[in-house]
Each structure stands twice: as structure tokens, then as C-alpha cells.
Symmetry: C2
Subunit: 227 residues, 2 copies
Amino acid sequence: MNKIEAREFKNFAYGHFTKISKALSSPKRFELLDYLAQGPKTVDRLAKETHMSVANTSQHLQALREARLVTSSKVKNHHYYELADNEVAELLQLTKRLAERQFPDMGEVRTLETTAGGSVPVMSSADALEEVASGRAILIDVRAEDEYASRHLTHAVSIPLAQLEEKLEHLPIGKKVIAYCRGAYCLYASDAVRFLRERGFEAYRLDEGPATSAISQELDTAGGKIL
Amino acid sequence: MNKIEAREFKNFAYGHFTKISKALSSPKRFELLDYLAQGPKTVDRLAKETHMSVANTSQHLQALREARLVTSSKVKNHHYYELADNEVAELLQLTKRLAERQFPDMGEVRTLETTAGGSVPVMSSADALEEVASGRAILIDVRAEDEYASRHLTHAVSIPLAQLEEKLEHLPIGKKVIAYCRGAYCLYASDAVRFLRERGFEAYRLDEGPATSAISQELDTAGGKIL
DNA sequence: CATCTATTCAAGTAATTATTTGAATAGATG
DNA sequence: CATCTATTCAAATAATTACTTGAATAGATG
């Protein structure tokens, strides 16, 4: 075969593959995708969540759209962005898992129960499933309500972190409380656990979020209620 | 929680995740990994296969090693690089699959049987499995011998492309010939198919290589012989 | 031990990417 | 219709990344 033609073909193929990985290669864009894995969101909201300027957020989202990792739609004068395909979430997950395997101090975040703000007791999904099923524990989702609505773990109850204090009285005394948020690298659940422990609850954070894992799929996406 | 501390934690986490995707974000490095998915290789050989300068190849390989996607070892004065983890191959595969799904003209490479140098008949792995099992076809691996040795499909026979002409007489007359190489984006199998068709064989290229897919795992890695 | 081969290193240039700023647009709302 | 909100666009600067060239090293081999 003609060498020039062959090179063009390879450039075409590898050029396309790397549109995907280029889009994933910026920490900010990776973080945006991580938020979008919780459900559709507006530019404005993503800008607040990631502490970026709106213009910068918009530009990153456009880059993600060009790489076909997200799609956008207009409702009134809000533009909603969302993941283009469930495989995008899988790609995020696989990348995280590989990072955890290959960089020892990454893996520790999950296993040694350390997070920013001090360490917090962690419970594995397998244990949590058992505790919740047996009625010894309740599972709370401390993300925003719409994220809970878009997808959550079975039997989880929605208590956004900001409302935890006011809803404290609704929590059953004597039961363990297992909190989760977006995943192991989101800090809301840790904040919730510290808050609850200061008030005498036996609280744990779940080692993952609703976007991941075989066990999460057993916990699943239905059930639960908004407290 | 303290905001500065939280931001540092996120920078740490997302910074690590994107070490992986940054490493994958260059077409040349993606191509290098694709070659390394066939087995360990030296810098020199990779430079030839990818048509890059040795210095440039070496630098890219060092970047991949820093991202923990490959490891290196020294045998005499040859440095062998290889994939650090099987999940790296999975990541390549998932990225390719996503690109095929999201970019229509990418997907066509596989389904419309077009490749550089003119289109060539393609056979799916499922069909190939059946044809080979029933004895109506033979499966040939046209990659280098050491790549075949490192991992190949069951019942495949090794005939490196360069030796195809001299080994033509060993091919059974009247049987279909199904050729494969590194995967859908490698052109050796297409070259082999065109060569064989010009000489009267009913030849097809397999739609994937040994690094991928559920069906490949049925075809598997053992069996076969070097012709 | 001189030389060869394989690989890495260092420096420089070219190219690409990220972020900020301020202006532009498009659709709601008073 | 004037104004407000949400988002995008354009231009400029700062930062990072890619590739080339030529020299340096380290281990074989004659």
C-alpha cells in the first residue's frame, strides 16, 4: 500500500481517538464531566460548582461538545448540558480506577479513609448494602435534590448537605447513618459525616457514588424518598 | 470545610486523573500504546513502526511511563517498554469504541469495510468463529511473529505480511482465508486480503484484533501454529 | 580499548492550549 | 421597549507541549 495514504488514514483514526482523550485531559473539564455525570446542568451552575468564570466554563463545555462527550439543549434561556453517552461515564470511571491503581497515594483516598478536612470512617458498598437491608442503618444522599432525582441509590433518602441541620430531627436515633455524594472524590459526604458525628450519630461515608460500580447497581436507582 | 483545603484536594485528585488522559491525548502516544498492546517492544522498533525519530519516540515513552501507563525494563542494551496494566488496553478500547459511536465517519471504517487503499471485504468475529470452527475457513495472523507469540486468536496461523508471498503455497485451496492484524485501524490485514484476492483466494479481513472484544475472548489466545 | 548500537538528555523553536477581560447576543421580565 | 439574565464570542496574554537537532551515556562487540 501507498505509504502516504496509509499515514493519512492513521492520522485520521488516531486524530479522532485523541479528540476524546484531549477533551478529558484538562482537570477542569474532567471535573465538569464528573458533575455532569450527576445529571444535566446549566453553564451557570457548573461555573459555580467548579469555581470557574462563566466564560471559561462555557468554553470548556464547547470543547467537550466538539469532542462529542456532551450534548446541549435549550430550555427558555437556560442551556442545559449533559453527558452524550453512558460510555462517557464509564470512561471517567475507568480512568479514575486506573489512576487509583497506578498512583498509590490516590488509592489511599479510598482505602485509608483520608480526605481533606481530616479522616472520616468509610464503609464499603457491600457492607452498606447489608446494613441498610437489615435495617441497622439508613442511607442518605447529600447531593442537591435534582441530582438525587436524576439518579440515586436504592433506599437512599435525599438530604442535601445545606439542609442537614434542619432535618436532623427526622433521622432515626440509634441507627447508623451512611452518607454519600458524587463519589469518593466529592467532599460533601465527609462534611456530613463530621457534622453528624459531632452530634452523636454513628455516621460513615460510602466509598462511592451512584455513577459507579457493580454494587451500586444492586443498590440501584429506584426507591428512597425525599425527607 | 475550609474552601482552600477542598480546592487543593480536588486539584490533587483531578490532577492525577488527568495525568492518565493527558498521556493519551497525543495521537503519537496513542499509536505507541496501540503497538504496545501487541506485546513488549524496544524504542527502536516502535520508532520504525510509528515513523517517528528515535529521540521523539523515547520522549513520548518517558511521558507514558510518568503517567504509569507503561513500564520499562532493560535486557542487554535494549530497553523494552510494555503496558503497565491490562486496564490500559481497556482504556484504549473504550476510547476507540466511543469515538466510533460518536463520530459517524469513524464507525464506517468498521462497518462499511473501507480502509485506505480501497475497500476490502470484512468478516465479523462471530461469523469468523463459525467459519473457522466448521473448517470452511482458515484464520491467519499477519502481524510480526513475536506479536503472534505474545498473544493471538485461537486456531490462528502466523504468516507475517512480508512472508505471505513465499508461504502462499501452504494455504489450503478452496478454503476462505480470514486475515487479522492489530485491529480495525491497522492496515496489514487489508493489504493481505488484497494480495490474496488478486491471486484467487476468497479472502476477508477480521473486524478486530486480538486485543479486543468478547468474541475474541472466545476465539482466545491459545492454539494455532506458525506456518 | 576503540567502536558500534540503543537510548536518553538538553536546548531551541514552533505550535497549541488555558484563562481573563470585555463586548455581543438572545431570550425573559417588568 | 428597556432591562436583566444566561450564555457565547473575540482578542490578548500566559503557559504548556511537540518536535528537531546534536551531544552524551552505557553497554556490547570486534
